[in-house]
């Protein structure tokens, strides 16, 4: 209805008139007069340097700014970096391959693929008007907007942490009247959305990895009851920490614990236990489900190292380690489950 209501329509749409509003010079007061009580109730403050060349009027985008989804337990956003970046606790090879096959699966070719210093640059990919990659590649799929992205892998700050940075290095828009490709400015938000896509893809990849690692038969291993560094009761084994980390959830589920959360950085599983009276049926089906000597509530299980051995420490919701006698009572069931095959 632009004719009827719009810029120059019958009913004037005045929402963009403000662009034409002008400030006038402040009043000069003749020498013999004075103008004391001129308190300015509507001070218009000056803006900073960087803000000088920001867009305004129609071409300011009101869309909500993108957020980096550092929600996985082993991911942390790097808020300082000018370019969207995250720190991630993961082995480099697996990361590098996951990122590459995110693009290759969709047939995206790379203009630069430098395995040595871990830098990838994509060919043109199709993006929507907000600059988000549509997940399809190929020259012919691009119709209106296209962009190029650079993804780099580098060292993180904390121990065995890597950093992934994503940057949109080029963006073009097809201009219908001149029907030529015309450059577009790059915004932090466009690269942030691409980084989020990488995080999502990495997440599905880890689930894949965990599933096949689960299927791989994890040989049982013996656990002894001993103490950890600050002599709390703990289960100790020689098996490698990563294997124990993989096996632990299966053992916990078998003991009817419910895994609520996990933190790979702290190597801790957050679990809850619901104490249920062994109902009539349980005894009927003679499940040897002997209830654990624990009240229902929240618990934590942490995998740490004692010297060269791996230790498993059980803690309650508040983080205080369980005392020795409970561990002694738990030990038989735990030992049996850790050592059997499945």
């Amino acid at each position: 209805c632009s004719l009827f209501y719009g810029e120059d329509g019958l009913i004037k749409d005045t929402s963009y008139d403000y662009l034409k509003a002008k400030e006038t010079a402040p009043l000069k007061i003749p020498p013999h007069l004075k103008h004391e009580n001129n308190v300015n109730y509507t001070v218009v403050p000056a803006i900073g340097e960087q803000a000088k060349n920001a867009p305004s009027g129609k071409d300011i985008s009101l869309v909500a700014p993108a957020q980096i989804l550092d929600v996985l337990d082993n991911i942390r956003a790097n808020k300082q970096s000018p370019v969207p970046a995250i720190y991630i606790v993961e082995n480099e090879e697996f990361l590098w391959d996951t990122i590459i096959n995110l693009f290759t699966e969709q047939g995206v070719k790379f203009s630069r693929r430098d395995k040595a210093n871990r830098v990838l640059e994509t060919e043109w990919v199709a993006v929507d008007k907000r600059g988000v990659w549509l997940g399809i590649a190929g020259e012919d799929d691009i119709d209106e907007f296209k962009a190029k992205f650079r993804i780099a892998l580098s060292e993180g700050i904390l121990k065995d942490e890597k950093q992934i940075t994503v940057e949109r290095i080029a963006a073009q828009m097809f201009n219908d009247d001149t029907d030529k490709w015309q450059d577009m400015a790059n915004y932090w938000h466009d690269s942030a959305e691409m980084l989020n896509l990488i995080i999502a893809h990495y997440d599905t990849a880890t689930i894949e990895r965990d599933r096949n690692s689960k299927n791989a038969v994890v040989a049982g291993f013996k656990v002894q009851l001993a103490h950890d560094d600050n002599n709390n009761a703990a289960l100790v084994t020689e098996t490698d920490k990563a294997l124990v980390w993989e096996k632990l959830p299966k053992v916990l589920e078998a003991l009817d614990f419910d895994v609520k959360d996990r933190d790979r950085r702290l190597m801790t599983y957050f679990i809850a236990y619901e104490y249920e009276e062994p109902g009539f049926f349980a005894s009927l089906f003679d499940e040897e489900q002997t209830p654990l000597p624990l009240e229902s509530g929240d618990y934590q299980v942490t995998v740490t190292t004692v010297g060269e051995l791996t230790a498993i420490v059980f803690r309650d919701g508040q983080g205080t380690p369980l005392n020795a006698e409970t561990m002694v009572k738990l030990y038989p069931q735990l030992n049996k489950l850790f050592s059997d095959k499945k």
């Binding site: 209501y5 004037k12 749409d13 005045t14 008139d17 403000y18 662009l19 509003a21 002008k22 400030e23 006038t24 010079a25 402040p26 009043l27 000069k28 007069l33 103008h35 009580n37 001129n38 308190v39 300015n40 109730y41 509507t42 218009v44 403050p45 803006i47 900073g48 960087q50 803000a51 000088k52 060349n53 920001a54 867009p55 305004s56 009027g57 300011i60 009101l62 869309v63 909500a64 700014p65 993108a66 957020q67 989804l69 550092d70 929600v71 996985l72 337990d73 956003a77 999502a200 997440d203 599905t204 880890t206 689930i207 965990d210 419910d258 609520k260 959360d261 809850a272 619901e274 229902s296």
Partner: protein, 232 residues
Amino acid sequence: CQSNRATTTEAQRINNAFKLFERAQQSMLSGNYRSAVQYLERLDSLYPFGAYSHRAQLNLIFSYYKLNDYASGIAAADRFIRQNPRHKDLEYAYYMKGLINYSSEKGFGKELFSAPLSERDASTARQAFDDFAELVRLFPNSHYAKDARQRMIYLRNRLAEYELHVANYYMRREAYQAAVSRAKYVVDHYPKTPSVPYALKMMEIAYNLLELPDLAENARQVLLLNYPGFKE
């Protein structure tokens, strides 16, 4: 005391969070902001902390603005500011608060049925001005600072025009002392606005009508000094 068995582990929750946000984005792109709001509200309630809720809350502000639901838009912005005092996108929330107040005065309905903009209630305009002022004060280098400042100039001129509109009424009413103080209010408190010369002219005329020639002369000289060629 039903123990909430959060069966889904952290990993599974991420996937449906992505799907949920994807659906919200689709409806926003297609302009169906009503359903976008529902998805975003659910996303915020399911994942009440961390990056999800920030993303959901910011998009909620935008969707309410698009739905012209100004009250909920401002409430969403205030909630985001209160809950995330040190978030990097705080400036967006401040900017949107100002923009929502600014546009609640305009719009098709208002233009058709209401009195001219500068002749009606100035309190929402004043509120929009204060919101933008806070944005520029807190984030002088913000991406939105330049646009906000430009809108502030427009709003200040509109507030000055409102004062003159009232002063004109009092002139017609022959309540010259009232007209003079309103005109003086513009000169004193709304500097650097295009209404200042008209205010000075009105002060001169009113002082003359009040038979205070020397006060009129002072006003005339200030006007002459600043706007030599000014004609009513």
